[in-house]
Symmetry: C2
Subunit: 110 residues, 2 copies
Amino acid sequence: MGNISSDVIRGYNDTIILYLLLDKPSYGYEISKQIKNLSEEKYIIKETTLYSAFTRMEKNGYVESFSSEENGGKRRTYYRITEDGRNYYREKCAEWHLIKEVVEKFVREE
Amino acid sequence: MGNISSDVIRGYNDTIILYLLLDKPSYGYEISKQIKNLSEEKYIIKETTLYSAFTRMEKNGYVESFSSEENGGKRRTYYRITEDGRNYYREKCAEWHLIKEVVEKFVREE
DNA sequence: CTGTCGTACTATGTCTGTCGTAGTAAATAT
DNA sequence: ATATTTACTACGACAGACATAGTACGACAG
């Protein structure tokens, strides 16, 4: 339905992913499910978007990856948030409040 | 300070511009001043971003342009919002409420 | 034992919007 | 006379999202 356009969420994909890594490491498929569930199907991140966000954030030092060989199941790449990642997340949260304030001056309510 | 990154405002430039055209036609320089003032300097749109938004939106039929030769001053290109533009603006406002709801599930307050 | 579905990715190339840089030119202020 | 403000246009670069496609393993049904 009233689907979210990629341009409006664009600035927040990293934030959303980092949020889901705050408490424990996770991996692509799980993250994508959590986004879908937490947003109540309102936002479903594209696989390519998600995985390219991981590589980008690893390059920027916001997350680090490790492999799970064990657990019998399929091989997965887990990501763990770093201190830099936590700081970046906090900055993005602060920025969100600013953005909200600004955009709402230009959105007519009714 | 904590300046707004282009990625987060990206999806809203068109909306912001259209908002400022709702009541009367306007032109680049004026729009850019109004964005700056209304946002209390929190968001200053880049000239190139603004003018390319105009051309894009004209192509999409959201605005139409006309020239002011008269008035003695410099030649300006004015833009007037169309019916399609108004509809698009309304859709974007609705989307904003959705986005807000979604993003706030992933932003930690404190 | 075969095929389909769900999981868990990787690779590649395209598109769009923003931005950096630069330049033009008229009007206005100093 | 010169600098600043106004009002754009042109061009090229870049980053993030996306479409499309492909790989590969495990589970489970028929």
